[in-house]
């Protein structure tokens, strides 16, 4: 089985926010006002060393959100994706505290701005409802994985900075790029 991952090549990201828009459009049925499953962060904006990176849930191997959730509503798919069950989620916010990437988000609902059900990137893989059912559309959005397609954000990235797919394939593409750019002896890590 494949292990699906995102990878963002910061040398190519031009902060166009195409991925953000693609995600919003693709998953509109599930997204409440103010939720951004994907975002582009630019550090050193307008200064030397400016760089942009597109961030969403990284579908961690040993996911902190999964470890901390009191309702235990996360599950790992056979493709290595980290998805969750909104019917079980209690909106406690622990996953937001634990996630290194700020992926979990909450619609404000109820008195005193209490948190609603957590929402995050699904890798366009829907959720625990029947594939393409109305319930899945409403709670989790699109399910492109079930159709054999990759997430909309990566598919629509104009510079192919954002890559999504099998971890081995994605990193092979990336290594090739690095080699082409001439990074023979500049590899880090």
């Amino acid at each position: 089985m494949a292990t699906l991952k995102f990878l963002c090549d910061t040398k190519r990201c031009i902060e166009c926010n195409g991925c953000v828009t693609a995600c919003k459009n693709e998953n509109a049925s599930a997204l409440e006002w103010g939720i951004n499953r994907r975002r582009v962060v630019t550090i050193n904006d307008g200064k030397q060393g400016e760089a942009s990176i597109s961030v969403a849930c990284m579908h961690c191997d040993d996911a902190p959100c999964m470890a901390v959730c009191p309702a235990n509503c996360f599950y790992k798919t056979e493709d290595g994706l980290v998805l969750h069950n909104k019917d079980t989620c209690i909106g406690c916010g622990y996953c937001l505290y634990a996630c290194p990437f700020g992926a979990p988000q909450f619609p404000k609902s109820g008195a005193f701005g209490a948190r609603g059900k957590m929402d995050k990137c699904t890798f366009c893989a829907g959720g625990p409802e029947e594939n393409h059912s109305e319930a899945e559309m409403k709670k989790y959005g699109s399910n492109r994985i079930a159709e054999g397609k990759l997430p909309m954000c990566a598919e629509l990235c104009a510079t192919k900075s954002l890559l999504a797919g099998d971890a081995d394939v994605v990193s092979a593409i990336f290594r090739e790029r690095v080699a082409y750019r001439g990074a023979k002896n500049a590899a880090w890590g």
Binding site: I90, G93, Y97, V178, R181, A186
Partner: protein, 325 residues
């Protein structure tokens, strides 16, 4: 590589390899600046983003991932032990040791001890406290100890119910805690004779060298004082950390502060829970005639002389001794 990378595995490896490899073989300057960016992101650099969601300006938040293991592997079982373990220990203890009877039986003369208001604030704090322990236990340890025995629907209902009840009862608990702490502290100051009380475990042990001992005690005995101050201190910790978790919009804690609050909340819960079990056993089962104090506010005269001799002598001497009509 630090511990964080190891834990997050491929996700990090890919994210960073993008950043690290990408500096190409260009110039030393470019390399230096990319290494810098790598370091900046890792150190939690905050940049510009069009998203208005919480914390979205920061690509990566770093913290010690061991807090997750601490909570799952230590705090969750410890809270189970503080509740069920303590109950088991107490049942065995009472079976072996027996309870503390009134040597001269009930006198039937009831001595004024607590005002109606005192009894009321006791229960204002105590009833929510019990339910907060039970609902908190579901939140902290439920997924390990309860969920495996339930279907998904029942579990979802239980954990959601626990959260809702916990959120609401936090408020009366805090009012009760504050009133008890402020109004009762004057009777709970440590005295020299408290040390002697501890030396003979309050005279509750019915065998060996402890048998038949009756240490001095004022209005509150040394054990009650210990419970009072533990409740005052950890009640404060649990209230402050709970407020951070309950009203994030009001206090806007950082994610790491919230995780710290979660840990402190759990530790305080364990301590308060263990003490509560002891307290409840002492009041209901262990000390004959003790429960009456928090029902009517009066205690039997024989109970007063046996368990709180110095207090009884004092009110008798200064004329504040009052009997029930």
């Amino acid at each position: 590589m630090n511990k964080l990378f190891k834990h997050l595995g491929v996700a990090f490896a890919l994210l960073f390899s993008a950043v690290c490899f990408a500096n190409g073989g260009e110039q030393a300057v470019a390399q230096a600046s990319d290494a810098q960016m790598w370091a900046q992101l890792k150190d939690g650099a905050v940049g510009y983003t069009a998203s208005k969601s919480e914390f979205h300006g920061q690509a990566i938040n770093t913290y010690d991932l061991r807090v997750l293991d601490l909570r799952a592997d230590w705090l969750a079982p410890a809270l189970m032990a503080a509740l069920f373990g303590m109950i088991a220990i107490f049942i065995v203890f009472i079976k072996i040791n027996g309870i503390s009877k009134l040597h001269h039986g009930f006198s039937g003369k009831m001595v004024y001890r607590w005002s109606k208001a005192d009894v009321a604030i006791h229960w204002l704090g105590a009833i929510p406290c019990l339910l907060l322990i039970l609902t908190g236990l579901v939140l902290l340890a439920g997924r390990f100890f309860i969920q495996p025995y339930l279907g998904e629907g029942v579990w979802a209902g239980l954990v959601n119910g626990a959260k809702q009840v916990h959120d609401v009862l936090a408020i009366p608990f805090m009012i009760g805690w504050l009133l008890m702490t402020v109004l009762w502290a004057k009777n709970q100051m440590p005295k020299m004779y408290d040390i002697k009380w501890f030396m003979v475990v309050g005279g509750y042990i019915n065998f060996g060298p402890f048998k038949g001992k009756h240490p001095d005690a004022g209005f509150a005995n040394a054990g009650e004082k210990l419970w009072f101050w533990a409740f005052a201190i950890f009640g404060l910790v649990i209230s402050v950390s709970g407020m951070l978790l309950l009203f994030p919009n009001l206090f806007e804690p950082s994610r790491n502060l919230s995780l710290l609050a979660l840990i402190l909340h759990g530790v305080s819960a364990i301590i308060i829970c263990a003490f509560s079990i002891v307290h409840i056993f002492m009041a209901t089962a262990m000390s004959e005639g003790g429960m009456e104090c928090m029902v009517s506010g009066y205690c039997d005269e024989n109970w007063a002389t046996q368990h709180h001799n110095l207090w009884f002598d004092e009110i008798k001497a200064n004329g504040t001794l009052k009997y029930k009509e």
